[in-house]
Assembly symmetry: C2
Homo-oligomer: 343 residues x 2
Amino acid sequence: MAPVTNGRFLFNEVPEGFPVPGKTTIYDASQTIDLDNADLQGGFLVKVLVLSIDPYMRGRMRHPEKKSYNAPFTIGEPLANFGVGVVLRSENSAVKPGDHLYGFYPFVQYTIQHNAQAFRVLENKENLPWSAYIGVCGMPGETAYYAWKEYAAPKKGDVVFVTTAAGPVGATVVQLAKADGLKVIASAGSDEKVAFASSIGADVAFNYKTTPTRKVLEKEGPINIYWDNVGGETLEAALDNAEKGARFIECGMISSYNTQKPYGVTNLMKIVAQELHIHGFIVGSIRDKYVDEFYSKFVQRVASGEIKYKEHLVRGLENAGEAILDVQSGKNFGKCVVVVADE
Amino acid sequence: MAPVTNGRFLFNEVPEGFPVPGKTTIYDASQTIDLDNADLQGGFLVKVLVLSIDPYMRGRMRHPEKKSYNAPFTIGEPLANFGVGVVLRSENSAVKPGDHLYGFYPFVQYTIQHNAQAFRVLENKENLPWSAYIGVCGMPGETAYYAWKEYAAPKKGDVVFVTTAAGPVGATVVQLAKADGLKVIASAGSDEKVAFASSIGADVAFNYKTTPTRKVLEKEGPINIYWDNVGGETLEAALDNAEKGARFIECGMISSYNTQKPYGVTNLMKIVAQELHIHGFIVGSIRDKYVDEFYSKFVQRVASGEIKYKEHLVRGLENAGEAILDVQSGKNFGKCVVVVADE
């Protein structure tokens, strides 16, 4: 077969505020690959099917001299994130053609990989769509599941406040909290997202763009657990409405990702006065303890329909820039997935 | 004996910024007490010897409608805090004349109390000055000891940053950290305080008024444990120089106590990125677990001279207002004690 185009989605420029598709990222169709004859050098050729778009990616779109917990993307190179691909050819005995691999992929249509241990072969006995494995059954679901287990310490009668409650992390937290019998207050950024949060069990769901978070928490709180994906003023409102000994699970602070001047939180004395316990985490650090039960039990709960989820599918690698911007600005409704190819 | 003056130190007005002696608090000498004949009604008469002046007291000098973790002081009534007094007469079998009682006292020269269980009879076999029992061997020492035990989780090679390192809490933390073999960075607000911090073992001690905290932490950090008595910009610098998984022990935030506009902390995303664990606490909440070993072991370490401390003695209840202001502005060098009377 003749070589085919191997499209790549490249980091082009560090954004100042929000990323700008076509400027801070660009799609490049100049490379080709001969799928039948490309030299694998002991590796395996993967056709990328779905790629995950997550809020944290904005943090990697930075100048390399700025330190953070993960490596910056390299200008001129493809972005990278979790995805699922199917093996076309393999010279590595650990994977075989037809295997579906979950792991970290460059944003390309085809890739030759060498480290089979970096990927998880998805058996998918549950017959879920592959996209589910990068959302509720992938890193975002893991994020919710692991940190809830590790830090929530739910007690009877507790009230939990969950931000970004229609997203893959937040919606999963809402459902885990309800399964633990708690009262759940959920915020999201559109009326349809709010309706979804209610449909999955949130006792109180509200659109933070039209109803002040502070007012809702004053009425429905105080809160014992806060799941923070937002930071800034929302965190400030949560601090002011925290019950004694509340646990704050700090998963992300998207309100600060696209600005040079993050909001200054002034009421941190509440940490002392209310004896709060605040835990920041990166999902990989608490993975080992819970990963087996995640794949053996939690994925089943998704497959059975007990745990519900929403997806926001964007077709075509060339549209990844818009997908990234959608996630940063909250335009997506549900887990954002770039569908690179069908099988 | 004829009645004697029973001086009282009263809360007079809520301060807007720093407390103003003679305005926000006043000394009142209009009351008398007949020490021989005053009706005890089953209680016991105590002559107050020493009263503790602590940073947190500023939080009680507030409008009653403003909620916080402790009760506001009442306008027109004496302030109150930890102290030591000696029993003059008693109709309660649990205490006898000559007993020295540690507990919570109104700011008066003489007081009739009824609840013996609210006080601890100090045997003082160690022959420490009574003032020590409201400083390094009282609430501030307890604060340092309990929270260090509960939240520091010190590991070999850890670096700890301690603020207000010449005060009774900070200086105790410095010495506990050194006893655990850690590298200690200590900040204080004058050169003589810095010299004291060095003398009790701090590896790096600096005057934060002349040397930027951020620069010291960049050079001597990153830090694994942060003991915060300050908040604001100092907390911000600590966040920017925290090692992965660092523990932040939030004991107080004096930088915010005397202002209507506390500093806004902008880099809270470090909590996520560095996977920090931040614990606020009130000493009473973690007391039960450690109080016996505190009095059985820690007080011995003080008496033996292993644990050192500084005191800032202010003579006369009428001078409590200046003492309070000194503590809020950092003018005191060492634990601030109002000496109400000698025995």
